[in-house]
């Protein structure tokens, strides 16, 4: 049975939430399996991320959380089943098609990768640059201020702390105003205070109507999020995706 987020969830997040719940899933996995080196990492995974939904993905290390996220933004191809990104079958997409889809999905990794020879500001603006657009100066300053990196804009990425890197990655992930934010262990390398700050930013994004999927081990983060937003927790265990219990 597919686990649906906002589609199944009756509770809207304010005015936008009501509209969002009527939308088709932005990302949909139908009976998906993924094998690597002959070993099956998971199978029979079905998931539908509705517009405006908020999901956590948990599970033990090596369960395939990162792989599942990669399937969600077309980095990997499922070995069985169907992955639909914005109503398009990911398997049939040309590489240019995948590139276009990634402009609608913001991704934040635990080990945020940047172009180290470019400034933080240029790295944040990179999604706009590659799509041939330029940032409005005021909007850009607002974004840098929102993630608290106005003072670091001219610095190079290696000069940033772990938390600053995560926030820079988040700014880069949202600059195109994507419909979906996928975050892979975004708080893995940062302290509690910074984790809370990052979570607040993600919750704000969700309130703006973005779908959020966070892969994490951090139960404190999940509990803190559930206090602020209606989030569903999915657990990837024993090669299956399950809805986590009420303890989370």
């Amino acid at each position: 049975m597919p686990l649906t987020g906002a589609i199944a969830s009756p509770a809207p997040f304010g005015q936008n939430g009501a509209k969002r719940n009527r939308g088709r899933p932005v990302i949909e996995l139908d009976n998906v399996a993924y094998s690597y080196g002959g070993a099956e990492l998971f199978a029979g995974v079905s998931l539908a991320l509705a517009p405006g939904s908020f999901h956590f993905l948990t599970g033990p290390s090596g369960a395939g959380k990162t792989t599942l996220l990669k399937l969600c933004y077309g980095e990997l191809t499922a070995t069985a089943g169907q992955v639909r990104l914005f109503d398009q079958d990911a398997r049939g997409m040309a590489r240019d098609g995948i590139a276009m889809v990634r402009r609608r999905i913001g991704v934040v990794h635990q080990d945020c990768q940047f172009l180290d020879h470019l400034s933080v500001a240029e790295n944040v603006a990179l999604p706009l640059t590659v799509s041939g657009r330029s940032a409005d100066d005021r909007d850009f300053r607002d974004l840098m201020g929102w993630v608290g990196l106005s003072a670091q804009a001219a610095q190079l990425p290696p000069e940033l702390s772990g938390g600053e890197r995560q926030r820079a990655a988040l700014a880069r992930a949202v600059i195109m105003s994507p419909e979906v934010i996928l975050a892979d262990e975004p708080t893995g390398n940062i302290d509690q205070e910074m984790s809370q700050k990052l979570l607040t930013l993600l919750v704000e994004l969700n309130r703006m109507g973005k779908s959020v999927l966070i892969a994490t081990h951090d139960l404190t983060l999940i509990r803190a999020a559930k206090a602020q937003v209606q989030a569903r927790v999915l657990r990837l265990r024993d090669r299956r995706l399950q809805l986590a219990g009420a303890d989370l």
Binding site: V107, Q113, L115, H117, L126, P127, V130
Partner: protein, 300 residues
């Protein structure tokens, strides 16, 4: 037209796309040096090809219009037979000029083999008559028949038997020059492909990041293609300039200089080396683009 527009776009460049790839000093210098060395060699291959072309044309035209009559006769009859032969030639249609070579000229011909101060008069060497044909040319079979009857010691050599191999050899040399240029272009393409692949492999993380933020393969490839194309054009321009200077410094052609001193360009042929830099750019563009797109496909 669309391709031309794309090339202009490329040269105009996308500074943002190019900035996405970090500068690579060593491979940049290596590519420029390789392009310069190949362009330098290409100038010489071009000079060789053009010089052999000229040589082939000259041999073909000059030898085709001349022939030699060789008179071997006992000492007492040599002069009479020479006069008789000249009379026959004077009355042969198609012969524009017939001139017996002087003793000095014959000595000069034999000098490369026997050295200077050869006593030609004391040796039983044949008398040579140089024949120059007019535009219509003469009938060699008819002339041979007349000479056989009137000058029994005369042998007509219309140069056919050694003109053809010489012209063929010159043609082969010209072909060799062209093959050399093609090989230089292929070697340049191969070296630039390897350099581009190395640059792509070294920038795997850059490519990962660009893909993550939605860059298309053509955007990523463009940064590498422009960089390598410009390096190749600059290197080839430097190499071509050095090659032209080197050709200019070669000894000038003179009568005794032979083939090698004729190596060079004449007249408007000096413009030919100017095609090398844009050609190198085109080769680099095609090689880098193919390597980049192939490499990006393999990395996806």
């Amino acid at each position: 037209m669309q391709r031309l527009a794309r090339l202009f776009d490329l040269l105009a460049g996308d500074p943002q796309a190019e900035r996405a790839v970090p500068p690579t000093g060593f491979t940049a210098r290596l590519t420029t040096f390789t392009a310069a060395a190949m362009a330098f060699l290409a100038v010489f291959a071009m000079a060789l090809s053009l010089a052999t072309g000229r040589l082939a044309d000259r041999w073909a035209s000059e030898l085709a219009r001349t022939s030699t009559l060789r008179i071997s006769a006992p000492e007492g009859q040599m002069e009479a037979q020479t006069r008789a032969a000249l009379e026959v030639l004077r009355t042969t249609p198609g012969v524009a000029e017939a001139r017996p070579l002087s003793a000095d000229e014959q000595r000069a011909l034999l000098e490369p083999w026997f050295g200077p101060d050869l006593p030609v008069e004391a040796l039983p060497i044949p008398q040579l008559i140089e024949i120059v044909e007019d535009r219509a040319g003469y009938d060699p079979s008819g002339l041979r028949a007349r000479l056989q009857a009137e000058v029994p010691g005369a042998v007509l050599d219309d140069h056919t038997r050694w003109r053809e191999p010489l012209v063929e050899a010159a043609g082969r040399l010209r072909l060799l020059g062209m093959v050399s240029m093609a090989l230089i272009a292929a070697a340049t393409a191969a070296m630039i492909t390897l350099a581009a692949q190395a640059a792509l492999a070294a920038n795997a993380q850059v490519i990962r990041v660009l893909r993550l933020v939605g860059a298309r393969d053509t955007y990523i490839a463009r940064a590498f293609v422009r960089r390598f194309t410009l390096r190749a054009v600059i290197g080839a321009a430097l190499g071509t300039l050095a090659g032209i200077v080197a050709v200019l410094l070669l000894p000038r052609t003179d009568a005794a200089g032979g083939f090698l001193t004729g190596l060079g360009f004449r007249g408007w042929h000096w413009l030919w080396p100017l095609v090398i830099p844009p050609l190198a750019g085109a080769v680099a563009y095609a090689a880098t683009r193919a390597a980049a797109l192939r490499s990006l496909r393999a990395q996806s």
